[in-house]
Amino acid sequence: MSTERLVCVVDDDDAIRESLRVLLFTHGIACRCFASAAEFLDQGPQLAIHCLLLDIRMPGMDGLELFDRLRQQKAAYPIVFITGHGDIPLAVDAIKNGAHDFLTKPFRDGELIKTVQSAFDAFQRTRNEMERLEVLQDRAGSLTPREREVMKLMAQGLPNKGVADELNISPRTVEIHRAHVMEKMCADSLPALVRMVSQLGIDSPDQ
């Protein structure tokens, strides 16, 4: 496992923080620990976090409040709650609001590492998505304004003739634009192009 991945732990209990740090360390996972939500809010933003392990019950700002705060800040990393049995309903609610998972204390053998691993995977998927989107945006950026218009109309399912009428140009010109669009967007079929347009969020008629 790569050591560049960073897990942050926010828990007010010293023993839990230290034991989690040791456990993660044996698996080659880097870990930063924080004793309170305030401490994390102070130092967390400077870190490239891949997963956050968050205790629910803490004095001062509790785990759920911190979670809300991080959601408002659109934190990109998965958040895993660690909770006692009594707080399971709260943790379930948190999952409905976008938390990655929760672990009940004490953890089962290997459970923590498995969950952290799944959080890493989820993070990687999100990151891949974002990278793909960036690539798509770059490609879309290389289109001329006319090509962009043609692409949008193609994605709406209009045939060449329809696009030509809509833009007041000849079907022959549409065909040339169309070939450029497919080439610049690296699309090998019309359905592939439709998916890209949808991912770029430029498929609605008024955009």
Binding site: I16, S19, H27, I82, G84, G86, K105, P106, D109
Partner: protein, 398 residues
């Protein structure tokens, strides 16, 4: 009544005797307590209007009868013993002293009463005057109060147990979690090291087939930590499910019953209680004993805070308000208030600022409020002191 005074008109020759007889009748008629006069053979001679009211007999029915008809069966022989004993030995067990006894009404009801007996001798004959104060009403209130206190105490114990268990479950779960995590780490580290070293010789393993490996031991440590966690979780669930029964209640009654419990303490401390029942409030669907328990805690805390501040003009006020599908009950005091230091941990179990506190009061109150779908919050009144507001949902009833 006139007729009776005529019947008992003594054959007075002097005017002051007549006057005295008049006063006697007036005394008998006006006395709030029952007055019964009997002769040395326990026969009833006089039976005043209050006696008639209390026992339910008319004077005609009872005069001439043995007074023991006014006593429960089980007490009758005792009465005869007292009288005989007194007449024989002159030893008074009740005369001039007074004691609490039981009376028997005509309808068969047995009731508690305070009985005092005096003796008078006229023409060498002993007469006994019994004055009886009916205690049943007072007892009723006392019994009710005692019953309320008992119920509250019971609920208190159950909720304390629940909260205690939840608190302990949380506190013990923390080190158990650390133990399990360390065991997990130990096991992983050991297998990693074992894999790096030369492969274990099969002979050495065969030599001690029953000897567990380090990995087994780590695994067992983890297992046992989780087992302890499960035991605590089962206990927590068991205690949780044992109480709470909700029905529709008038919050004014709950508050009144709460304040009843403080009657004595309040008088002792000079603290003023401000509370005006608001009968326009809707009913709430709650476990009344648990809500009362919250209020008892809040009022008690208020009294403690006033004592701590040392101010002589302590005031605790209780305000109710219904708004937005919510009923709020605020308990405010002008005592020492909550320090900044305590503010964060105010509702946490085992946190207390009192020298002899356990730190469960407010934590229990909060969990009761939450199980009712409500909230308990603290605020600081501008004039100092503390204000705790209990908010309960005005859920649909029936």
């Amino acid at each position: 009544m006139k007729s009776r005074s005529e019947i008992h008109q003594p054959e007075a020759t002097r005017p002051d005797e007549t006057r005295k007889a008049g006063f006697f009748n007036a005394l008998m008629d006006a006395a709030v307590d029952a007055i019964i006069i009997i002769d040395h053979q326990s026969r009833v001679l006089h039976f005043n209007p209050s006696a008639q009211r209390i026992f339910g007999y008319t004077e005609k029915e009872i005069v001439g009868q043995n007074v023991s008809v006014l006593m429960p069966e089980s007490h009758r022989h005792k009465h005869d013993e007292y009288v005989n004993n007194y007449l024989d030995t002159g030893q008074a067990k009740i005369i001039g002293i007074g004691r609490e006894e039981f009376g028997l009404r005509r309808n068969g009801d047995v009731f508690p009463m305070r009985l005092s007996v005096g003796e008078t001798i006229r023409d060498d004959e002993s007469f006994f005057v019994g004055i009886i104060h009916d205690l049943s009403e007072q007892r009723g209130t006392e019994d009710q109060l005692r019953f309320l206190e008992q119920k509250l105490f019971h609920a208190d114990r159950l909720v304390t147990l629940g909260e205690l268990t939840a608190g302990i479950a949380h506190e013990i779960n923390q080190p158990l979690t650390a133990i399990a995590a360390y065991a997990d780490a130990g096991r992983f580290l050991n297998s990693k090291n074992a894999a790096l070293q030369a492969p274990a010789s099969p002979e050495s393993a065969a030599e001690h087939p029953n000897e567990p490996s380090i990995n087994d031991i780590f695994e067992r440590i983890g297992e046992q930590a989780r087992r302890a966690g499960e035991v605590i979780e089962r206990l927590r669930k068991l205690v949780r499910s044992e109480y709470s029964s909700k029905s529709a209640h008038d919050i004014n009654t709950i508050i009144k019953n709460t304040l009843l419990l403080f009657d004595y303490d309040i008088k002792k401390t000079n603290i003023k209680l401000h509370y005006k029942p608001d009968h326009s409030l809707p009913l709430i669907f709650v476990d009344d004993i648990q809500i009362q328990q919250i209020l008892v805690n809040l009022v008690k805390n208020g009294m403690d805070a006033i004592a701590e501040s040392g101010r002589p003009d302590g005031i605790i006020s209780i305000e109710t308000e219904a708004a937005d599908e919510e009923l709020s009950i605020a308990v405010q005091d002008n005592g020492a208030g909550v320090t900044d230091l305590s503010l964060d941990r105010l509702f946490q179990p085992f946190y207390t600022s009192k020298p002899k506190g356990v730190g469960l009061g407010l934590s229990i109150c909060k969990s009761i409020a939450v199980t009712h779908g409500g909230q308990l919050v603290h605020s600081r009144p501008s004039k100092g002191g503390a204000r705790f507001t209990l908010r309960l949902p005005l859920a649909s009833i029936g």
